[in-house]
């Protein structure tokens, strides 16, 4: 059965979803709208996340898939795509399905049997109706109320500043206590002690610092026992530096001040980012180099999409999305080798890496391999040293270098060039080992000063992508 407005009304989980979908019917919000001429339609919609959501649907049986974390099925993005398709509200470019659409088709079990269709919970309740969707009325401006609200927000901000400073003082005392007891046995008491401090920092509304501290026990137990004291030392030193910088933020340069406020827990909304004309913006063709996906202690999946463009000296960028683990969504995974034609705006920082898409024109699969590693390993490390000087609590930094040789010494692997040998992350060992059999590679990875997490390599045998 072909799509129709009536079908969309039947599928919509509630009236609010239809209303939300209607707001997405602007073609400018859809950098990609394509079909294969045989009833398979797909598109990308810029939502509130860093990366656009990807939606695919089959017209014949109204099958659909969206990468957004919504728990409504179908979500507003899917409803909007169906709506646009039905009403032909935007042109759909003919094309061959990209890999992410094929992956979905491969996993699909096909349409559910007619009897298995979910029934409305309450048949007496009114069904969602497109006709009933009303336009939002423009909010009535009330200068007095707005002034009161702004004053309230200012008071809240001031209270939070005080709370954070108190929390940082508690954290510094905690670090001093830990150093008094010694870092050698820190791993044994980390789980309990870090949880206690993290709660204290949450109460102090310093969520960024709380996340750092609560992630520390897991980070310790990921490394061999003999390395744990040093890992703990680095983490505590970074937390101390952030705390110190925050308490002296008024004397810091603007980008560093903005960075440290984000590190402590002040969020910068997407709207604020887009509105700030002073921030770094880079427009061009962005290649997806790698996608990292990890679950944080706060039960959020953190998805990092690392990009590089050929303009601005091969600028790197990372789009970071957070998805609730409980939602079970697969997340919005771009695939290494895809190209985004987009403009990115970077979060303020002396080392601007995290970004948001401001204008997304299209996504396509790259026709050629990655050739972005124009630096030697020595020069790439120099860039990291500069970045570390500018931002002393820098966690990981993108390194792209060529030529690099992967060599083994005992049970560890190293990325080598000349006299430099960077240890590769032990967790990547099994996957990386085949690289030691090829001569020289162009390597992209994340360097944290202790080990390099390899993510992409271009070799004579083709591209190697971290699993």
């Amino acid at each position: 059965m072909a799509l129709s407005l009536q079908k969309i009304e039947q599928l919509a989980p509630d009236q609010a979803s239809l209303a939300a979908a209607k707001k997405l019917l602007k073609p400018s919000m859809w950098p990609t709208l394509q079909d294969n001429g045989e009833g398979l339609v797909w598109g990308e919609c810029q939502g509130s996340g860093a990366t656009p959501y990807r939606i695919a649907l089959t017209e014949a049986d109204a099958g659909y898939k969206c990468t957004c974390p919504s728990r409504k099925f179908p979500c507003k993005h899917t409803l909007a795509l169906m709506w646009m398709r039905t009403e032909r509200l935007a042109p759909f470019t003919p094309g061959t399905p990209p890999q992410w659409v094929n992956d979905w088709l491969g996993r699909r079990r096909g349409p559910a049997p007619a009897g298995a269709a979910p029934k409305p919970a309450d048949t007496a309740a009114p069904r969602p109706s497109i006709a009933a969707v009303v336009e939002d009325e423009a909010p009535v401006s009330d200068a007095q109320a707005e002034g009161r609200a702004e004053a309230q927000r200012a008071r809240s901000r001031a209270q939070r500043e005080d709370l954070i400073v108190t929390g940082i003082a508690a954290m510094e005392q905690w670090i001093t206590d830990q150093l008094e007891r010694g870092l050698a046995g820190f791993d044994q008491r980390a789980a309990q002690d870090c949880a206690t401090l993290a709660k204290r920092l949450v109460d102090a509304k310093a969520g960024g610092l709380a996340n750092r501290i609560s992630a520390l026990p897991a980070a310790l137990f990921r490394v061999p026992e003999d390395q744990r004291p040093l890992v703990a030392a680095r983490a505590l030193a970074a937390a101390y530096l952030i705390g110190q910088a925050y308490t002296r933020q008024d004397s810091l340069p603007a980008p560093l001040k903005a960075d440290v406020r984000q590190a402590v827990g002040w969020n910068l909304t997407r709207e604020a980012l887009l509105d700030d004309a002073s921030l770094l913006r880079v427009d061009g063709q962005w290649r997806v180099l790698a996608v990292r996906d990890e679950v944080q202690p706060d039960r959020l999946r953190r998805i990092e999409t690392w990009l590089q463009t050929d303009v601005a000296g091969g600028h790197f960028a990372v789009l970071i999305d957070f998805i609730p683990v409980s939602g079970g969504a697969t997340g919005n995974m771009y695939l290494p080798g895809e190209m985004l034609d987009a403009e990115l705006v970077f979060y303020p920082s002396p080392v601007p890496l995290r970004a948001q898409i401001t204008a997304h024109r299209s996504t396509r699969t790259a026709a050629d391999g990655w050739t972005g590693a124009q630096r030697s390993l020595h020069d790439a490390l120099e860039a990291w040293r500069t970045a570390l000087e500018q931002k002393p609590w820098l966690d990981t930094y993108p390194l792209a270098a060529a030529p690099v040789q992967v060599r083994a010494a005992g049970d560890r692997l190293y990325a080598c060039a000349g006299t430099i040998a960077l240890p590769l992350a032990a967790a990547s060992d099994e996957a990386v080992r085949p690289l030691s059999a090829v001569d020289a590679v162009s390597l992209f990875g994340l360097w944290d000063g202790r080990e390099l997490i390899p993510l992409l390599a271009e070799t004579t045998l083709g591209a190697w992508v971290a699993p």
């Binding site: 670090i175 008094e180 010694g182 030193a237 190293y414 090829v438």
Partner: protein
């Protein structure tokens, strides 16, 4: 603590704890701090960590010399890499079922190797089929297995002993068909160095082209310390005339076979087999028949009964057990016409019984012999009622490859018409299909429910593409 502190010295002190080892620096990092500046342990920690970060981790003095792995086989076509990964990894995609084995065999047959970058992801698959894929997986830091033989090299009398057990056995079995004496000499020289499981494979391989010339060697091996090897030797000896073992076995069977006759107007000779009283279950019955009849030839049995082969078959027609036993003895003698007569006559499901004991019990070790057995034992029309996923999977495991086309079509058709179509059944049935029938198999699978046919369809697509070879870019 006094004097200038280095970052390492600071961290050493902080490891022990400032409670035990107070930090009282006169200077930090060799440069000194401003008078009155903050020298709290936390600040010293931050400074020391920053200093250590700028100094890169120490490089090892010596790197392992990586022995360049020479593998002259072409890498699997690029478009097949994700398909193979999809077939044998992830939930519900076992690395060791019929589909995985068929792909491994096809890679071997067409001389392909896996892409080195895929091997970590395909580690389980590579480990299960290392014999076919030519991959010896070693853990980090472990020395690779010794031996100068590589999977792509042709085996000969000088290097065959370095190959994997399956390849050794196949080499000997093939050589037996062209130069039985040379193969025997090679086995005799190598046996003392092999473990029991390899000895068993090599003894079974001697079953190809068996002759009385092998008798001295087999008699010398009859006392092997491994029971499995000993049984295999006795089985081969029983196939040789004049060893005494076969005669004794025939005499024992004659005491259990009762001649008789039926019919009023036209008398017809009958033969009835009396089973031992302690053999009760169906499984035990098949095992006893295989042991008793699998070591003798059917011609010798007919001779002992003073009948022609045809007359013996006719007389045993009404006794399914005896007919099954005669089928085993026909297989032991490689008398395929007699086995085919039984399968197409009174016992079309006789191949089920062979699968219970395993084809190796009858010395069917080479692909050629297994295909000859299949041509004879599996009729072109199969009784649908007996075909299920267990039986077809067992057939695939026993064949260790494909069936002849006619038999493969029959099995596949029976599988598609089964009342309980499952992914495992269709996959095993499709994996038995030789290349000539894969196109029609893929077309049939496309018509079946995807949840049952998807895996088999993917496997068929991979097998067809492996045969086609790389596509021009």
């Amino acid at each position: 603590m006094g004097g200038t502190l280095t970052p390492t010295a600071i961290l050493d002190a902080l490891m022990q704890g400032t409670g035990r080892r107070p930090l009282k620096p006169d200077g930090v990092l060799g440069e000194g701090l401003e008078a009155g500046s903050d020298t709290t342990p936390a600040r010293l920690l931050a400074l020391a960590v920053q200093a250590l970060l700028h100094a890169l981790p120490a490089a090892p003095d010596v790197f392992d010399e990586s022995a360049a792995i020479r593998d002259e086989r072409p890498i699997v076509p690029e478009d097949l890499r994700p398909l193979i990964v999809k077939l044998v990894t992830g939930k519900g995609n076992p690395p060791d079922d019929a589909a995985a084995q068929a792909v491994a065999q096809s890679l071997d047959r067409h001389g392909y190797r896996l892409h080195p970058f895929d091997i970590p992801r395909l580690a389980l698959f590579a480990r299960k089929h290392g014999d076919l894929l030519g991959i010896a997986l070693t853990k980090a830091g472990e020395e690779p297995a010794e031996g100068g033989w590589a999977v792509w090299e042709t085996l000969d009398a000088t290097n065959w002993m370095l190959a994997t057990p399956a390849r050794k056995a196949n080499f000997i079995a093939d050589l037996r068909l062209t130069d039985a004496a040379k193969a025997r000499d090679l086995v005799e020289a190598q046996l003392p160095f092999e473990k029991a499981d390899v000895r068993l494979r090599l003894i079974d391989a001697l079953g190809a082209g068996l002759s009385s010339d092998d008798r001295p060697l087999l008699e010398s091996l009859a006392g092997d310390r491994a029971p499995t090897v000993k049984r295999a030797v006795i089985r081969l000896l029983a196939r040789l005339p004049g060893t005494g073992a076969a005669e004794a076995q025939i005499a024992e069977l004659l005491s259990r076979i009762t001649p008789g006759s039926i019919g009023l107007l036209r008398k017809r000779a009958t033969l009835t087999l009396q089973m031992p009283a302690n053999v009760k279950s169906a499984t035990a019955e098949i095992d006893w028949l295989a042991t008793s009849f699998g070591g003798i030839g059917c011609t010798a049995l007919a001779h002992a009964l003073d009948m022609t082969l045809e007359a013996m078959l006719d007389a045993a027609h009404d006794d399914g057990r005896l007919l099954r036993g005669i089928a085993f003895s026909a297989c032991a003698e490689r008398n395929w016409p007699i086995l085919a007569a039984i399968a197409n006559g009174g016992l079309p499901d006789v191949w089920h019984a062979f699968l219970q004991t395993g084809l190796a019990s009858f010395g069917l070790v080479t692909p050629h012999e297994r295909r000859e057995w299949a041509s004879a034992a599996i009729p072109a029309r199969i009784n649908l009622s007996g075909v299920d996923r267990y039986l077809v999977s067992a057939l695939h495991a026993a064949m260790d490859g494909t069936l002849p086309l006619a038999q493969a079509r029959a099995v596949f058709q029976a599988a598609t018409q089964s009342r309980h179509i499952t992914a495992e059944l269709l996959t095993a049935a499709a994996a038995l299909m030789p290349h000539g029938g894969l196109g029609e198999t893929a077309a049939t699978l496309a018509q079946l429910p995807p949840e049952a046919a998807e895996r088999a369809r993917l496997m068929a697509h991979i097998l067809i593409r492996l045969k086609e070879g790389p596509r021009p870019s």
